[in-house]
Each structure stands twice: as structure tokens, then as C-alpha cells.
Amino acid sequence: MATLKIKKGTSRHSAYDLRDPNLDLSETHTLAVLVDNEAGVLARVIGLFSGRGYNIESLTVAEVDHTGHLSRITIVTTGTPAVIEQIKAQLGRIVPVHEVHDLTVEGPSVERELALFKVGGTGDKRIEALRLAEIFRANVVDSTLESFVFEMTGTSEKIDAFAELMRPLGLAEVARTGVAALARGV
């Protein structure tokens, strides 16, 4: 058995182990969480993530079953595989949570996000913005002589790409809903 030489007065040994054992690569997962639509349920879910130091990349929530008072929360999160498993287990034990689905591992799924972009400008820049919006199948939902509001639905990557293109063309504001996701098939 190896010996431990502990010198009085060194602080290498803290009251806690200060080394982070989770330095390996993390993954992104999309979770669908079915909850009772009651007061404070979103705070419970968000509080779990902040209290235990988990990441939220995106979060959407709305009632999906009015008679059953059920809401669906879609969360995109990142973490090591062990952390992702822990997040699912922790979500599962919140009392008003009915189901937790990891859409990333449960088979193919579709993910969509809706975004609104306000782009200001005149002349060539305005024409270029409209041309790119057509390529991206974005709709014009508001127009003045000096601005457009585009509406676009797509994956988060597509919305990122469109925002990148609009930036030099006068992008003034962006509003995004966050990801909504469903498993494919029945």
C-alpha cells in the first residue's frame, strides 16, 4: 500500500476534491419533457438546470393538451454522456414530470425553430436581403420603405446561417423561439 505523506500546513488537500473529473468531450441532446401544466413547473425545470450546473442551449414550452393540462418542454442541452443521463434522471424525479424523452438517442427526429429577422436598409443591400430571403424560403411579414421583417422556420443551423448573411445587410433585431422537436414516425 502506498504511503500518504501529508505535510502540516499544505492546502493541497481541500475539504473537497477540487479536480473536475468531467473534462472529456460533451454532447448536445434534445430532450422532450411532458409536464403537468401547473404553476411553477417551468421554474422547477429551470431551477434544476441552474442549481446543478447543467447547460441550457434552448428551451421552449407551451401547453399541448388542454384537457389533460399537459405542457411540453423541449430542452437542448450539452454535457458528457454521464451528465446527460443524470439530467434525464433528475428531470424524471420532479413530481409533475410525466415523461422524459431523449430525442437524440431514441431514433430519428425532426427539429425546427421559428425566427423573425428585422433588416433595415435601402438600395442594393435591400435587394440582396430580399434575394437571400427567397433562397432561404423566408417570408416577408412586414415591410416599410427602409426595412423588412422576415419570418423563417428551419433548423437552428439554417437560422444561424441566415442571420450571418443578414448581418452585413442591415440586420437590426432577431427573435428566435428555440427548438421544437418530435420523433419521426409513429
Binding site: M1, T3, I6, K8, G51
Partner: protein
């Protein structure tokens, strides 16, 4: 009980009666006056008036842990609720079923910064298993029944129901428990049979197996402790336990290795490190148990039985995860293991026990009693010797005295050991002992304390004397925050920053000021008589035991070190240790 109309306040009392509650620990205030008015007008439920809301929760914890039934707390809004938060968090960390009822300002004033308003459900959301704000009197009784269901099912824990004052005054329909709509919350109690069979197979071949048991065995109930004892006897495997699980397997049993962990026994920790099959029953691989995770029991296959899926693979990866209630899983495990022929690896086990016996010979708890001054270990050894034959209940505060109590007192039955394990709440023990004594009026209840911890809730002397509770406060007084001092000595250059207790009260006079008995003892020669005097006194006693001021608590695994790197105390001078290559400071 018919479903009939009544006020919200009356509903609270009715629901408590229907849930079988006989005692409520509480403190009145403006927002709960209607409920207190109802309590005044009945005799079925006894109300114990504490002196601080934190103590109400700890007393309820003591009641719950010593009976297995949920503890109930009633406090007012605002400061009543916020004072209760430490106790609620303590119950959450140690999985103790508690139902906390808080008053709230009237619904129409919520959000207005009204007098004694606090966002109680917001503040307690992360420290309860679940909580509710009831805004409609018709929903109150159903919510109360559900609160009891959630607190006691699955992994137990504290719940809180926040009741605005107008909801208490208004009239609504009362729903009896059997008619209440209980939510979908039904945790899985039966373990996966395939995985249990895999564990039974592993038990047949393991050469160096160990049972590592925790508070989950005790929470599961008497059936679980009975089945654990049967399984240990049938297999002959050694068993160790966390701080929370003491008493599930009797300390007088020959398979008992003692507590494991940071201040656990040498043989228990080395057996955990060297085992080839670890069977975790209702423990959670806490950081005080595992030490350095990367080197935790490196050569073992691990099974983990827990009712909470989030406990499994949280810190330690296990090959055999079994989600379920300990009693159900042990019943299946015993049945399967017996039906397969009750096989064990006899040759392997024999060598394993021979190895364990060499570790036991180290006698890691040995100490040299001094002739002029009382060593804390000696005080607890004498307390153990003088109370061994009695069915006693032990509470503790938090610190060195708590670890010494876990090491030197021996528990042969569950629900006899009340200590703040997860949260480590100084001030837990005294109010907890009050809750235990209320539940067991004729039992011997001792709170092993340090003087600093004890002072944190000493106002409960009023409660103890008011209800004539013969709780024994056994204070190991070293005039120091002993555990803080120990860390400062070993790890912070002996710079004792604020870890001494100056301006201590005269504990004997303090006891007398409250109408209780005080005893002081500083001479080892007087100790036995003094302890006997404490035990013989029919009433609350404060025992001020002046002990060695600089004693350190050993064995000790410094955080971030594995189980086989322990610091030993005076036992380290023995030959067995040098042969084993163990570690000295």
C-alpha cells in the same frame, strides 16, 4: 369521514387527523392564526411549541427518523417559513419524510410585499421534494393528502404546502384521503429480476464481497433491515454502513465492519478498497464515502440498489444498477439466490475474512485514556458501556463528536440514530432529540453534542422543560469548533482562524436558568458516576463534559484521497500498521 363543507383552517386539522398525525411541531404567527384557532378547539392532535422554526423541522425529523412516520411542521409566513429552510434542506439531503405547512399572506396581497410576506414556494422549491401554493379552499384537502403521499412514497423527503390566510378562512368542500385524486407520482419499487439474478450469480463466485448499506435500508422499513440481516447471515459476507445506515445491521453482529468513509473504520475502508464485489444497498456514493472517485474501489464489480434512479451512476459507474425499494429487491434477491442453491465462494471468503481480521487487529479506534483529563473517545466509550443494555435513542450535532459517536456507540436496531448526514447541520441534535422524546416518551434519548453546535439551538431548553422531556444533552466541551480546528491544524498551517469558542456560558447555570439539571464533569475518575447521575435524573439534563481540547478525530481519509490512504491516530504506533504499510502523520 363524509365529504363536507368546512373552513380551510378546519380542513388542515381534519386532513392531519385523517392522515394519522398525532403530533405537530410548530410556532404560531399572523398568517396561521385560523389554523391555531382550530388546533385550540380539539384534542386529537398534540401541538408542540418550539422556540424557533428551524427547531420545529429538526424535531419533526427526529420524530420521523425514530418512528418511520412523517413528521409535521406548522409555521407562519415570511420569517416563519425562511427560518424553516435549513431544517427542510436537512430533511431533503437525508431523505426524511416531513410535511411543512406554512401560512401565507392573503392571495390578493401576494406579490405586494405585504407584512411577513415571502415567496415561500419560490424559496423552498429547490429544498423540497415538491411544494404547493394553495389558492382555492376546495383544492386544499386534496393537496394536503397528496403532500403526505409524495413525502412518504419513493425516496422520502420534505414537502411544503403554503396556505394563504384567506384560503384558511374561506369555506370549501373537504375531500377524504380515499377520495383524493393523487397524482401520477408512483415510483418503481420492484427491481428488475434479470439484474437481480445477475447480482445473485456474482454473489456465488465473488471472492471478496462486501455489503455497503445506507440510509435507504432504514427508510425502506423493518422488512428491509430483517431481510438484510438474513442475507448477511446466509451468505457470510461482511457488511459496512454509511453514517446514515447505522443500526440496519447490528453492530454486535460478527459480520459488522463498522462505519466506512472519511472517518470510517480502517477495516471497513480497506475492505471497500479491496473488494471484488460491492453491493450498495440504499447508499449514494457520497463524497465523504468515496474519497477520490478515480481510485474508488478499483477492482470491484458494483451493484447499486436505490429507489431513486438519479442516484444510480451519479458519481460511480456500476455494472448492476437495480432501481427499486430495498425490501422488495432483497426479498427477490434472497429468493433467487436460495433457489439457485445458496452458493458462495467458500475458499475465497475464508481468505477474505482472514485478510479482514488482520485489518481489524490494527484496532484503529484504540486510544490512550489520560488520567487527568477526559478524552472524548473515553467519554463516549463510557456512555456506551453505561447505556449498552438500554433501548436508547442517540441524536448528534455535527462535527468531531458526531464522528466519535458513530465510531464508539454501537447500534443494534434501526431508527435509533438521528444525525445530520448530508447537510451537516450544526444545531440539529438538540431539537431532534426533542422530537424523538415526544415520539418515545419513556425511552432514553441522548443528544451527543459539541458545545458550539449545541449553542446553535439552545433556545430549545424552553421546549424541553415546558414539556418535561427528559432529554440528555451530553456535551463534549472542548471549547473549540473541533472539526474546523482539526482541518486548520492539518491543512492550514495551524492557523486557528475563529475556531475557538470564547465567552462560553456556564452550562450548569444555563440548565438551571431554564429549570433543568446541569452536571459538569472534568475528571475521568468522576465520569461514570456523573453519567449515571445524568441517566438517573427524571428530567432534562445538560451534561457539560470538559474534554481534551486538541484531540483529533481518526481514522481520517483526507478529501481527494482513496480509501487505502488513511491517517490513523494512536493506533498507528502498533506493529500491524507498519507491516501493512499504512500511513502516519
Amino acid at each position: 369521514m363524509m365529504n363536507k363543507s368546512m373552513t380551510g383552517a378546519r380542513m388542515v386539522v381534519q386532513a392531519l387527523k385523517d392522515q394519522g398525525v398525532d403530533v405537530v411541531f410548530g410556532y404560531p404567527g399572523g398568517a396561521v392564526l385560523p389554523i391555531y384557532d382550530e388546533i385550540f378547539q380539539q384534542n386529537d392532535i398534540r401541538h408542540i411549541l418550539v422556540r424557533h422554526e428551524q427547531a420545529a423541522v429538526h424535531a419533526a425529523e427526529g420524530y420521523a427518523r425514530s418512528t418511520g412516520r412523517p413528521g409535521v411542521v406548522l409555521v407562519t409566513s415570511g420569517p416563519g417559513a425562511t427560518n424553516a429552510v435549513t431544517g427542510i434542506t436537512d430533511a431533503l439531503m437525508d431523505s426524511i419524510p416531513i410535511v411543512v405547512l406554512t401560512g401565507q399572506v392573503p392571495t390578493f396581497m401576494i406579490g405586494n410585499d405585504a407584512f411577513q410576506e415571502a415567496d415561500t414556494v419560490g424559496i423552498t422549491r429547490p429544498c423540497t421534494k415538491h411544494n404547493w401554493l394553495v389558492k382555492d379552499t376546495d383544492a386544499l384537502s386534496g393537496t394536503l393528502h397528496e403532500a403526505f403521499h409524495v413525502a412518504t412514497s419513493g425516496r422520502p423527503g420534505p414537502v411544503l404546502v403554503d396556505i394563504p390566510k384567506d384560503v384558511q378562512f374561506a369555506t370549501g368542500r373537504y375531500t377524504a384521503p380515499r377520495d383524493a385524486r393523487i397524482s401520477h407520482y408512483k415510483p418503481q419499487v420492484k427491481g428488475d429480476i434479470e439484474m437481480i439474478t445477475r447480482l445473485a450469480e456474482a454473489m456465488e463466485t465473488a471472492a471478496r464481497p462486501i455489503f455497503y448499506t445506507g440510509g435507504g435500508v432504514i427508510n425502506s422499513g423493518d422488512a428491509a433491515t430483517q431481510l438484510l440481516r438474513e442475507l448477511v447471515e446466509a451468505t457470510g459476507f461482511p457488511v459496512t454502513s454509511t453514517l446514515m445506515g447505522l443500526g440496519a445491521y447490528p453492530a454486535s453482529g460478527d459480520k459488522w465492519l463498522g462505519m466506512l468513509g472519511m472517518h470510517g473504520l480502517y477495516e471497513a475502508n480497506l475492505a471497500m478498497h479491496g473488494c471484488d464485489l460491492m453491493i450498495n444497498l440504499g447508499a449514494r456514493f457520497d463524497d465523504r464515502i468515496t474519497g477520490r472517485v478515480a481510485d474508488f474501489s478499483p477492482n470491484s464489480a458494483k451493484a447499486h440498489v436505490d429507489i431513486d434512479p438519479s442516484s444510480i451512476n451519479k458519481t460511480i459507474h456500476v455494472e448492476m444498477p437495480i432501481i427499486g425499494d430495498i425490501a422488495h429487491v432483497l426479498e427477490d434477491l434472497l429468493r433467487i439466490w436460495k433457489s439457485r442453491g445458496r452458493k458462495t465462494n467458500k475458499a475465497g471468503l475464508e481468505k477474505w475474512w482472514a485478510q479482514i481480521d488482520t485489518w481489524r487487529k490494527v484496532d484503529c479506534l484504540s486510544f490512550r485514556p489520560a488520567s487527568k483529563i477526559i478524552k472524548p473517545q473515553h467519554a463516549l466509550s463510557r456512555l456506551e458501556a453505561l447505556t449498552r443494555d438500554r433501548d436508547r435513542y442517540i441524536c448528534t450535532e455535527v462535527g468531531q463528536h458526531q464522528m466519535w459517536a458513530a465510531q464508539y456507540l454501537r447500534f443494534d436496531a434501526p431508527n435509533r440514530w438521528m444525525t445530520s448526514g448530508g447537510l451537516g447541520t450544526m444545531g440539529y441534535g438538540f431539537p431532534s432529540s426533542i422530537g424523538v422524546q415526544i415520539a418515545h416518551p419513556d425511552a432514553l434519548v441522548i443528544n451527543v453534542a459539541g458545545e458550539a453546535s449545541w449553542l446553535m439551538n439552545m433556545q430549545e431548553m424552553g421546549t424541553a422543560t415546558q414539556y418535561r422531556l427528559p432529554v440528555k444533552q451530553f456535551i463534549l466541551n472542548n471549547e473549540r469548533l473541533g472539526m474546523v480546528r482539526q482541518w486548520q491544524e492539518l491543512l492550514h498551517g495551524e492557523r486557528y482562524s475563529h475556531s475557538w469558542s470564547e465567552s462560553l456560558p456556564d452550562f450548569v447555570k444555563l440548565a438551571e436558568a431554564f429549570g433543568a439539571k446541569g452536571i459538569q464533569c472534568s475528571d475521568p475518575a468522576d465520569l461514570d458516576d456523573a453519567i449515571q447521575e445524568m441517566l438517573d435524573h427524571d428530567g432534562p439534563v445538560v451534561f457539560d463534559c470538559l474534554v481534551e481540547k486538541h484531540e483529533n478525530c481518526f481514522p481520517m481519509i483526507p478529501s481527494g484521497e482513496p480509501h487505502n490512504k488513511m491517517l490513523l491516530g494512536e493506533a498507528s504506533t502498533s506493529d500491524a500498521i507498519r507491516e501493512g504499510g499504512a500511513v502516519l502523520v
